[in-house]
């Protein structure tokens, strides 16, 4: 039989199909083991190579066409069927459920995610120290995330492989919006809008193009920022001493080490007493007794200037860290993945 003929027959037959059963029969008629199209395809082996190519190609095309039509028709039937069931199962939202089927208080309590709970704690600690808690944008401009923070265009962090950029549908070459890589992105935005002095923490989600055993493309940070007159490194030190004791325990000590972040000067790395071994040395702290926990420093004068602040008159400090690692240390969670897998067997432990 001619392929065109088969196609026409199929289209005619399909238009007459009235039920799922009809459709199934039609499928057998065309695509079944002894179906019309199957017979053509089987017959191919008797043909010459040239004919095989010509007819074989067209036959396979037809086969795909028919299969797709079946799929669409089938979905149509299922949708119709569900419309019907929808009608049968129709439930008025304002009817009342018998109490026996909904108990408050429930027999088992739900669970708060450990990241939430740790963020509550961070907020509590800084609120006790009279900080304002501030929410920032996760989709930020390149300016606030990088330029205003002194990350010049050649800096490795600006490389595309580290930062997610948002597609600008009108200007495909423009890379203006991005997913913030650090909560510090909120610093200059806040400075511009608020009078001095400033004393805030910014908890929230951050993003980097990393996905492996120890990195998740989305993670959480919190950032502290204080700006005013006569702020010194000594203020930063006392602040972190108090905060870390409240956050990690009364016996926590801190240590400042030299480091570099483009938006602070001097920049430093802050180590805290290892929360696991209390400083005596263990696997988690690689036997040093210290955990490298925060980045910090005195706010760079260029950042203050970007925020519209006179950097000769005022100074400030900033500090920040990742939340996940603190959560993992606190609960001895061995893998970052567990935090975002949302497996009930994990969640119900908290």
């Amino acid at each position: 039989m001619d392929l065109e003929e088969i196609k026409q027959q199929f289209i005619d037959a399909l238009s007459k199909v009235g039920s799922e059963k009809d459709l199934a029969e039609l499928e057998v008629e065309f695509l079944g083991r002894k179906g019309k199209l199957t017979t053509v395809l089987k017959g191919l082996s008797d043909l010459t190579i040239v004919e095989k190519k010509r007819i074989g190609g067209a036959a396979n095309e037809l086969k795909e066409f028919i299969a797709e039509e079946f799929r669409i028709k089938n979905l149509e039937f299922r949708m119709k069927k569900w419309e019907l069931i929808g009608e049968q199962e129709k439930q008025d939202i304002n009817s009342i459920i018998p109490d026996s089927r909904f108990q408050i208080p429930p027999s088992t309590l739900g669970h708060i995610h450990p990241i939430s709970n740790f963020l509550f704690k961070i907020n509590r600690v800084f609120e006790e120290m009279e900080y304002e808690v501030v929410d920032g944008y996760e989709i930020e401009t390149d300016y606030y995330n990088f330029t205003a923070l002194g990350t010049h265009l050649d800096h490795p962090a600006r490389d595309e492989q580290d930062t997610f950029y948002i597609k600008d549908l009108e200007h495909p070459d423009k890379k203006d919006l991005l997913l913030r890589t650090q909560t510090s992105a909120m610093q200059v935005r806040y400075m511009k809008k608020h009078p001095l002095p400033i004393k805030i923490i910014i908890p929230g989600k951050t993003y980097r193009r990393d996905n492996d055993a120890t990195h998740s493309p989305m993670f959480h940070q919190f950032e502290g920022l204080v700006v005013g007159e006569g702020i010194t490194l000594g203020d930063l030190k006392s602040t972190l001493m108090i905060a870390m004791k409240k956050l990690l325990g009364e016996n926590t000590k801190i240590r400042f080490r030299s480091s570099y972040f483009p938006f602070v000067e001097p920049g430093l790395e802050v180590d805290v007493t290892c929360a696991i071994c209390k400083g005596s040395g263990c696997n988690v702290c690689k036997n040093t007794g210290w955990l490298e926990l925060l980045g910090a420093g005195m706010v760079h004068p260029d950042v203050l200037k970007a925020g519209g602040i006179d950097s000769e008159k005022y100074s400030g400090f900033a500090f920040g860290t990742g939340v996940e690692r603190m959560v993992m240390v606190k609960h001895a969670i061995p893998s970052l993945k567990l935090l975002y897998e949302n497996d009930i067997r994990f969640l119900e432990q908290f």
């Binding site: 995610h113 509550f120 609120e127 997610f164 950029y165 006392s238």
Partner: protein, 800 residues
């Protein structure tokens, strides 16, 4: 980056152990991530020997018998390596040496006595060459311990991105000097090095892109005799993880380790010349330019690369001869026949180097240095230092002087020195004299109130930078604590308090909070048929994960789908943001908190009503009142008869629905699944009784690992007394065996047909082992065990 402890000690006088040095550097300069002994303790009993005689082994073709002089005596040693020859000096492991591969013992090898072993480089733990016995410098004295020649400690340091200048021993020694109050020992003739270069050699350099290559210097050297480099140089290279090759290549690498600028040596005869006027009518032509698409180069590692557009290359008049700053090309490589060398010392922009590394998948000692910002000043230093060494150690003779293209200013930056301001800023009791001493040891020059910044430091330009220099070397940890006196009136947004409060309240209703990623995969979005979104990522990590969510529902359903493989019934919530187009000039986006809830596994119409009850309880707790309106125009993903709008103050703030069965099928959700999503921001302002205080739930939970092996499921129905508590039954079931991980009541039915005062209770049982998947027999045994316990404790009978 690797640093040799012994080398640093030669450059500056200090008296600290490797560990002490590493600790001080980590606090004050660069973080030392690892300290490793270079060459094991066994090097103490491996000595320099000289082969006096080689004879064939009578019983083995591949073995030879040597007589080797170790100064104090001559030893007979059997050796299997073919590369030995009479007169060579070689490492001899004496009897008793405990090599990692085993102890050297006096032994008969095929009937011939052997009193030690000649060693290959890898056996000494100082390299990975195993091509033959390591041939030592002929000038080494017999009997000298190898530990005295090669023993060292290697410090592995993490160089920060602003301190490219520290990627060498000289500058790290300067930091160490500043830390311990010492000046470094500059090499003797550094004063003779020129800063200005007049082009006076037979090389013509042309830079086509000054941004990519601010400075290129070169020196031609003739009469080069290729040979091995001296032992002291090889030791330093080996300790820093580099392989000695020949004197010319080793000198370029050595100078890079010493002064920090990567160098390259070309064989001049392989670089064509052009006709010019002046002293040198023929000059070798070097062009620094960006690659054209499709150009090819075979690099020194033997790999062929087809170059994409715009990689920085060094070329002759037509073809690339090196990937600039990354690796040389084979077509201009030094070999045994080389006699004229063109030495390159240039400054390349870090951005271009990183691009080459990325595009070619190639990272080298050179490229990793250039990938951090280097001062062009280093290029001047290194060219002249390497030229000197080529004259001294490879019998070279300079042809004319150095040539250059590009520019570098030798004017030093001046920063005002305000001691009081610095002391205050740092909150440190440091004297002016101490501050000045630190700065001087770091190479700063001080003239009254002017500090001039050394040319290699690109990172210092303002007084705060000077404060950092003083502070870090003095010790940032010595900053005196000062109680912060700043006071503000915190104006924390209500939404943040309400968010915390809502999460706690929802958990108290029995719902479990989840955290899903804000980046959705197209697959997740498609499966749930909720496809609308506003923001896309232009450079996603893979072709799927590019959607910034505009609804929490797809993520919630994906989590349900995963958990439904193991559980029959659960309920979740997520309270987090979605991403909508900005509605304000100054806002980059509108990030809107949504509250999304999910109830899975309820029977019939219960799901959606239970879900609604949750929402009503939630609203009621905050004095809110939501209305519901059956949805006449259900969306594709909603069960057409079970969907409604949630209404607050006459506005639709969300919807509540059972998931359409076809969507459920897509997601492998076997049971009914109901979802609600409401706009949290819509009622933040009106919510009552939100406590304006943060507080965590006390939690000392230590996570316990759970099994990921397949679970086995069984249902059990038993008849018990009407008064039996169904929760007590669950407790007993769970106590049966540690492999009984779940028990859930799904039916409770009182009827006389079970006997007077009896009822039937039915449970889903879940069995799982921590180390394997249970087979049917094991699952049946557990079932029987549970039944036995229930009949013992509750007089239960299996319902047939």
């Amino acid at each position: 980056m690797k640093f040799s402890y012994n080398w640093l000690k030669q450059l500056v006088d200090f008296n600290k152990t490797p560990q002490e040095l590493a600790d001080d550097l980590s606090c004050k300069s660069i973080e030392i991530e690892n300290i490793e002994k270079f060459g094991g303790d066994f090097l103490d009993t491996i000595v320099v020997g000289q082969i006096l005689e080689i004879n064939k082994h009578p019983n083995a073709d591949k073995l030879q018998i040597t007589k080797t002089d170790i100064g104090s005596q001559t030893l007979q040693i059997v050796c299997g390596a073919p590369n030995i020859a009479v007169g060579q000096k070689v490492p001899v492991a004496l009897i008793g040496t405990k090599l990692p591969m085993g102890e050297i013992k006096q032994a008969k090898i095929r009937d011939i006595e052997s009193f030690g072993m000649l060693c290959a480089q890898d056996e000494l733990g100082i390299g990975n060459d195993h091509t033959g016995i390591m041939i030592l410098d002929p000038d080494l004295p017999l009997g000298k311990k190898l530990s005295e020649i090669y023993g060292d400690w290697v410090l592995d340091g993490n160089i920060l991105s602003n301190r490219g200048d520290l990627q060498n021993h000289m500058q790290l020694a300067r930091e160490i000097g500043a830390i311990y109050g010492k000046e470094i020992k500059e090499i003797q003739n550094i004063e003779n090095w020129k800063l200005e270069i007049e082009n006076s050699g037979p090389v013509d350099v042309q830079i086509n892109n000054l941004e990519a290559c601010p400075l290129y210097t070169a020196q031609a050297i003739k009469g080069i005799k290729i040979g091995p480099s001296p032992t002291w140089m090889q030791q330093k290279l080996l300790a820093c993880g580099m392989k000695p090759i020949n004197n010319v290549v080793d000198i370029t690498n050595y100078v890079m380790l010493e002064y920090g600028n990567p160098l390259h040596a070309f064989d001049a005869k392989k670089i064509p010349t052009i006709e010019t006027q002046g002293n040198y009518p023929k000059k070798h032509q070097i062009v620094v330019r960006l690659s054209k698409k499709g150009e090819v180069i075979r690099t020194l590692d033997g790999q062929d690369h087809e170059l994409p557009e715009e990689l920085l290359v060094i070329a002759d008049h037509e073809k690339p001869i090196a990937v600039a700053g990354v690796m040389g090309g084979e077509n201009s490589e030094i070999d045994e026949t080389t006699s004229i060398v063109i030495l390159e010392s240039a400054n390349f922009n870090q951005k271009y180097i990183r691009k080459s590394q990325r595009e070619l998948g190639l990272a080298t000692e050179a490229s990793s240095r250039f990938a951090k910002d280097l001062s062009p000043y280093l290029a001047f230093q290194c060219l002249q230092r390497a030229a000197e060494l080529l004259v001294e150690l490879a019998s070279g003779e300079l042809i004319g002087g150095p040539v250059k293209a590009g520019a570098f200013s030798f004017e030093k930056r001046i920063v005002k020195f305000d001691y009081e301001k610095i002391r205050n800023y740092l909150s440190m009791d440091i004297s002016k004299e101490e501050s000045i001493k630190i700065l001087k040891n770091l190479g700063f020059e001080i003239d009254g109130n002017d500090i001039s910044v050394p040319l290699w430091r690109k990172d210092v330009g303002i007084w705060q930078d000077i404060a950092e220099e003083v502070g870090r070397i003095y010790g940032l940890d010595r900053s005196k604590e000062h109680e912060l006196s700043i006071q503000i009136e915190p104006k924390t947004e209500k939404a943040l308090y309400f968010e915390q409060s809502a999460k706690k309240y929802l958990a108290s209703l029995g719902l479990t909070e989840i955290y899903t990623l804000s980046i959705l995969s197209s697959e997740t979005a498609e499966k749930s048929k909720i496809l609308g979104h506003y923001f896309e990522i232009s450079n996603p990590m893979n072709e799927y994960d590019y959607i910034m969510r505009s609804s929490l529902v797809p993520g919630l359903l994906a989590v349900a789908s995963n958990n439904a493989k193991k559980f029959e019934r659960f309920s979740f919530f997520e309270l987090s943001k979605i991403y909508l187009p900005s509605d304000k000039e100054e806002a980059p986006s509108r990030e809107n908190r949504m509250l999304s809830l999910l109830v899975y596994g309820e029977k019939n119409e219960d799901g959606i009503l239970i879900l609604k009850n949750y929402i009503d309880h939630f609203a009621g707790a905050y004095g809110l009142n939501f209305q519901y309106e059956n949805d006449a125009k259900p969306k594709e993903f909603m069960h057409p008869g079970r969907c409604a709008k949630v209404i607050y103050k006459e506005e639709v703030i969300g919807n509540i629905f059972e998931v359409h069965p076809i969507v459920s099928e897509n997601l492998d959700l076997k049971n009914r699944c109901c979802v609600a999503e409401i706009n949290f921001e819509a009622f933040v302002d009106d919510a009552l009784d939100v406590e304006n205080r943060f507080a965590e739930e006390p939690s000392e939970v230590i996570y316990k690992e759970f099994s990921r092996f397949e679970v086995s499921k069984r249902d059990i129905a038993v008849v018990v007394d009407v008064g039996t508590n169904t929760i007590d039954i669950i407790k007993e079931i769970k106590n049966t065996d540690e492999k009984v991980v779940g028990a859930e009541l799904f039916d409770e039915y009182v009827s006389d047909k079970f006997g007077a005062g009896k009822k039937s209770v039915a449970y889903h049982l879940t069995f799982q082992a921590s180390d394997r998947t249970l087979n049917d027999t094991e699952a049946n045994e557990l079932f029987d065990k549970v039944l036995k316990i229930l009949s013992n404790k509750f007089n239960a009978e299996l319902r047939r």
